[in-house]
Structure formats: structure tokens, C-alpha cells
């Protein structure tokens, strides 16, 4: 209804332009990546490669570290997600039922984890880990990954639990359910979308984490992103492109799966700050 667009025609055009810009900005580099990964020969001014080939794929998978690092990455991501759920869901439920200025705390921790320089945190963690002998161990890497996602895993389910009205739980008591039954049959299923969104986040975040893993895990714990760094610096960019795609694939698959499982509206309710 704004004055900004008077005619519907003009609005359409601007809408189109904006969406195009966004698409180019994000899809462009990714498309370029795909082309690069399958290129045999490619010289600069041409738009497309001369030859298409799988040679860089073969090259990457022939590297000894690669297969191992993929397995390790998924293993760590699974452990991180499982441990985070066990730790954070009870905390989230407790937070949801305690009355305190939720918005403020949410926002502040959101700002903290997103704007805070992670390097500072990682270095101090590394120092601590060094003292207690957690450097270069799986457990150390898992803990670093968990610090990254603690906020998401707590606050998104907290918001989900908060969205459940007291009357909805009380109605269930009222018709004869014990407190435990209420949690199992009413509270948990209603909060499930939020918990799932947070879990997907956690899994993907762990898969992609490089900085903390690098500091705490070297030299033995080499996850996918770590291996990728070395490939990028030691080999041509096409190899890097292949690895990028391998790293990106689970993200896309999980996002699509999440979209199917959970409707956008339900997902959004997980984010609503009440």
C-alpha cells in the first residue's frame, strides 16, 4: 500500500529486477563452481570449458584423506547433533517455563554468537584444552562444534516450547493425562518442528566448521573442510570446486528434506520471538 510503487506494472518490474539480482549473486558463483568441477580444459576468456570431464572428481577421490575425512565429518556431525539435543532440549524446556525477559536474553546471546569474534573464543578454548589434554582429540573437536551451536540449539527449541500455551498442556492434564504423558503426547510433538530445525542447523554447522577444528584438531582430526583447505592451496582450483560440491551436497539434501518435512509456516514459528 506504500507510495513507493504506484502502478502495479512498475512494482512487477522492480520485483523482477530484485529477485534477479539476488539469484545472480547466489546462484552465479555456484553455477560457476559446477562448471569448473566438470571442466576438462578451460582457458580464460571463454564462457564455457572446451572439454567436459570427470578427471578432477577422480583426482579428489583418489586422495587418501578424502574418503576418511568425509566419514569423520559425518560421524562428528552426528555426535554433535545427538549430544546437543540431549543437553539443550531439557534446558530449552526449563527456559521456556521460567519467566524472565526472554527476548532480551535471546537477542543478546544471538548477538554474542553472531557478532562475537570466534577466533578469540577459539584461542581461549584451545588454551584450556591444551591444559586438560583435549587438543588433537575427537572429544575436543566435538566440544568446539557444540559451543558454536549451543545458542541455536537452546533458543530455537525454547521459542518452540514457549509457543505452546499453558492451556494446551493444562487441557491434557484435565482430560486425564499425567505430567509425563502430557510432555510425551502434547508438548514434545508440538515443539518438534523447532527442534528439527535446530538439529538440521547443528548438523550442517558441524559439517562446515573449519576454524575451530583447525585450531583444536590438528594434526590428526581432519574433517572435510580442513582437507579442502589443503587441497585448495596445493592443487588447481578445479579440485577445490569438486570438493566444494561434495561439501555442499548434504546441505542441499538436508534443506530440501527439511522443507518437505516441515512446512515453512511451522518452521517460522520456531523463530518467532515471543
Amino acid at each position: 500500500m506504500g507510495w513507493y510503487f504506484k502502478a502495479i506494472g512498475r512494482r512487477r518490474i522492480i520485483e523482477f529486477i530484485l529477485l534477479t539480482i539476488f539469484a545472480v549473486f547466489f546462484a552465479g558463483p555456484l553455477l560457476n563452481l559446477v562448471v569448473l568441477a566438470f571442466s576438462g580444459q578451460w582457458t580464460y576468456p571463454d564462457l564455457l570449458p572446451h572439454q567436459w570431464s570427470f578427471k578432477w572428481w577422480r583426482f579428489v577421490f583418489e586422495q587418501d584423506d578424502v574418503a576418511k575425512s568425509i566419514g569423520l565429518s559425518f560421524l562428528i556431525a552426528t555426535i554433535v547433533t545427538a549430544l546437543s539435543i540431549v543437553l539443550c532440549i531439557p534446558a530449552a524446556y526449563a527456559f521456556a517455563r521460567i519467566r524472565f525477559p526472554f527476548k532480551r536474553v535471546f537477542l543478546f546471546s544471538f548477538l554474542l554468537t553472531h557478532a562475537f569474534p570466534k577466533m578469540g573464543l577459539y584461542v581461549s578454548i584451545a588454551v584450556l584444552f591444551y591444559k586438560v589434554g583435549l587438543m588433537n582429540t575427537m572429544l575436543g573437536v566435538v566440544l568446539v562444534h557444540m559451543i558454536n551451536v549451543l545458542m541455536f540449539m537452546t533458543w530455537i527449541p525454547t521459542a518452540a516450547f514457549r509457543n505452546i500455551q499453558a492451556a494446551q498442556e493444562e487441557s491434557a492434564r484435565d482430560v486425564g493425562a499425567t505430567p509425563l504423558r502430557v510432555f510425551r503426547s502434547i508438548t514434545l510433538p508440538m515443539a518438534m518442528p523447532g527442534i528439527m530445525v535446530a538439529s538440521v542447523f547443528t548438523f550442517l554447522n558441524s559439517l562446515d566448521e573449519a576454524q575451530g577444528t583447525f585450531l583444536v584438531g590438528i594434526p590428526d582430526i581432519k574433517t572435510m573442510p580442513i582437507i579442502m583447505y589443503s587441497i585448495i592451496s596445493d592443487f588447481p582450483s578445479s579440485a577445490g570446486a569438486v570438493f566444494s560440491i561434495i561439501l555442499t551436497a548434504p546441505t542441499i539434501i538436508l534443506l530440501v528434506a527439511a522443507q518437505r518435512l516441515i512446512s515453512a509456516d511451522v518452521m517460522a514459528s520456531g523463530f518467532q520471538v515471543k
Binding site: Q165, A167, Q168, E170, S171, A172, R173, D174, V175, G176, A177, T178, R181, S185, I186, P189, M190, M192
Partner: protein
């Protein structure tokens, strides 16, 4: 009639200062009793106390003669319909209704019959497969009502069940609730802040104020003879005038009534707008135009009657309800003589 529910000396104080003190009330089998009062008067506290959703500081709650004071909500023979957000959005209407029956271990075939019967009773037959989000607000409250009815509670508790609905729907739902109560003979306790709802639905009204009970009476009685000034102010529109006790009579200007309550000194005289009579001053000479002098300030037509505001020389502004026929004889700005057909006097505090 047997007493179905008794509340004895219920007390619950919150840190905020709100709460209730020493609430005593009895509800007979098959009665619909309303807890009426403004927000914060403690009516919901009483209802939640009966339902088991709060632990009272003191007092006892008896249902069918047995104390339930120590029982958690799931063990009490009560069922509650909440203001809103009643239903579980991840379950179909059928599952919402069947949940309580499953817990009770009812056989599946019986559940099916019971659910479809309950849905028919609330005029939503065949809605089993729908989800709460597919229903309108009114339909959701109907399902919530069905869920409670299904359990055949000893006392059905209703916590402002229609307040989230729009005016028209609210009226419809009131009539339906009345019908359901007649059909099922259930004992019901309804909480509301809406005096129309209380007046139109209840067998008896419990008027609450600041955590205590002001009056318990039938709707007509509470309207015609409010025991306290508070009730007089709260229920229906009411005019208040300053009166003076003059021996055996209470006087307001040249009007007077017997001093039935034996008050003394200055008193507050309460007069319902429908008891205010207006006569054009020009009719004064024929001897019938007795009354207090006033001037018509505003006439608001409200359908089948009109609300007339009269500026009184010494008594502020009075409201008078006049029939649509009577109104045609009146004009804004006109001088009138005001008569008061009946009044209730209260001590001036």
C-alpha cells in the same frame, strides 16, 4: 436438589496482591452458575482452584460430597473449557477428542461412537478428520466443548469460553450452551466478565469483587435488588443521585420514597435508566408533570429503545431508556420533568 460442588473457605493469595479470600459457594446438580466480575477480581482463581490447576493456601473443595482438594487435575471429575488455545494442533479433531478416552482405556469402537455423538451435540458432525487450524475460532471452541462433554464430568468448568469470538458468534454460542445444558443436565460453572452473558445464561450469578463474593443470587434478583453499591454499579446501567434521609422517607428534590433500609444522613439513590420517566415541561400545568427539572442533552437510538441523556440541574447527567414510540415526543435541548419509578438506596461511603 443435591449439592454437586461445594467450595469452603477457599483462599489463595498471589505475590502481586491479587487472589481470593474465604470463598464459600455451593452449586446444585444440574445448575449453571456464573462467576461474574471484572478482570483481577479472582473469578478465574476460583475456577482454577476447582479444576486443580492451583494449590489453595487454605480451604476445601468437595465434589459430590468428596474432597478433591489434594487431587491433581487429571484425577478430578471436572473438565475445563479454556478461553482459547484449547486444541492440540498436531492432532486431528478425532484425536483431540479421543485422547482422554484412550487414557481411560475405552475400547476403540466405543470411542468412535462417543466422538461422533459429541460432535453432533456441538453441531459439528463429521468433523473428525479436520485439523484445528482448518477450523474457525467458533468451531474450535465447539470442539473444545465436545472434548469436555465427552468425559461426562461431574462439574464442567468454562473459563470465558466465548470471549475471543465476535459479538454475533458469541450470542449464538450462548444459546447453544444453554441448549446443551438443558439436554445433558450437566452441572456447569462459567467464568465471565460479560454481564449480558451472565444474566442470560445463569441459574445463579456469583458476583465477585477484589477477591471476595459480593452477592449470590438469581439473575433477575441481582438485577432488581443489587445488595451492594458495587453490584449496582457493575450490573446493567445505573444512575446514581444524592439523596437525603428525612425521617421515614428518602428525598431527592421533590421526589421521595420510604426509607426501607433505615439508613441515615446522606444516601446514594440508584435508579435504573428504564425507571426514569421523562415528561415534557410544557405538560407541567396539567398537574402530572411533577418531578426533577432537567434538559435533554443527547438522544442515542439503539434499535428498539433509545438512551436519552438528561442534564439535571443539581444531579449531573441521568440516562433514561425510552421506547421508540416515546422518543418521538422528545427533542434535544428540550426541558423535561424527570420522574423516578423506583429506586434502591445505599449508604453513602
Amino acid at each position: 436438589m443435591s449439592v454437586q460442588l461445594a467450595v469452603r473457605g477457599l483462599t489463595k493469595r498471589y505475590k502481586t496482591g491479587e487472589g481470593v479470600t474465604g470463598i464459600n459457594l455451593e452449586v446444585n446438580k444440574g445448575e449453571l452458575v456464573t462467576l461474574l466480575g471484572p478482570s483481577g477480581c479472582g473469578k478465574t482463581t476460583v475456577l482454577r482452584g476447582i479444576g486443580g490447576f492451583l494449590e489453595p493456601d487454605a480451604g476445601e473443595i468437595l465434589i459430590e460430597g468428596k474432597s478433591v482438594t489434594k487431587l491433581p487435575p487429571e484425577k478430578r471429575p471436572t473438565s475445563m473449557v479454556f478461553q482459547s488455545y484449547n486444541l492440540w494442533p498436531h492432532m486431528s479433531v478425532y484425536d483431540n477428542l479421543a485422547f482422554g478416552l484412550k487414557i481411560r482405556g475405552m475400547p476403540k469402537a466405543d470411542i468412535k461412537t462417543a466422538v461422533s455423538d459429541a460432535l453432533r451435540l456441538v453441531r459439528l458432525p463429521g468433523a473428525e478428520k479436520k485439523y484445528p487450524t482448518q477450523l474457525s475460532g467458533g468451531q474450535q471452541q465447539r470442539v473444545a466443548l465436545a472434548r469436555s462433554l465427552l468425559l461426562k464430568p461431574a462439574v464442567l468448568l468454562l473459563d470465558e469460553p466465548f470471549s475471543a469470538l465476535d459479538a454475533k458468534l458469541r450470542h449464538e454460542m450462548r444459546e447453544e450452551l444453554r441448549d446443551i445444558q438443558t439436554q445433558t443436565g450437566l452441572t456447569m460453572v462459567l467464568v465471565t466478565h460479560d454481564q449480558d452473558e451472565a444474566l442470560s445464561l445463569s441459574n445463579r450469578i456469583i458476583e465477585m469483587n477484589h477477591g471476595h463474593i459480593e452477592q449470590i443470587a438469581q439473575p433477575q434478583r441481582i438485577y432488581n435488588e443489587p445488595e451492594t453499591l458495587y453490584v449496582a454499579q457493575f450490573i446493567g446501567k445505573m444512575n446514581f443521585l444524592e439523596g437525603v434521609v428525612d425521617g421515614e422517607r428518602i428525598r431527592v428534590g421533590e421526589l421521595s420514597w420510604p426509607n426501607a433500609k433505615r439508613l441515615s444522613g446522606k444516601v446514594k439513590v440508584a435508579v435504573r435508566p428504564e425507571d426514569v420517566g421523562l415528561n415534557a415541561s410544557s405538560n407541567h400545568q396539567d398537574g402530572q408533570g411533577q418531578g426533577l427539572p432537567g434538559k435533554i442533552k443527547q438522544i442515542m437510538i439503539l434499535g428498539h429503545y433509545a438512551e436519552v441523556s438528561v442534564d439535571m440541574d443539581r444531579h449531573g447527567t441521568l440516562k433514561a431508556f425510552q421506547s421508540k414510540e416515546a422518543i418521538e415526543r422528545l427533542r434535544t435541548g428540550e426541558s423535561v420533568r424527570v420522574t423516578l419509578a423506583s429506586m434502591i438506596a445505599y449508604p453513602n461511603d
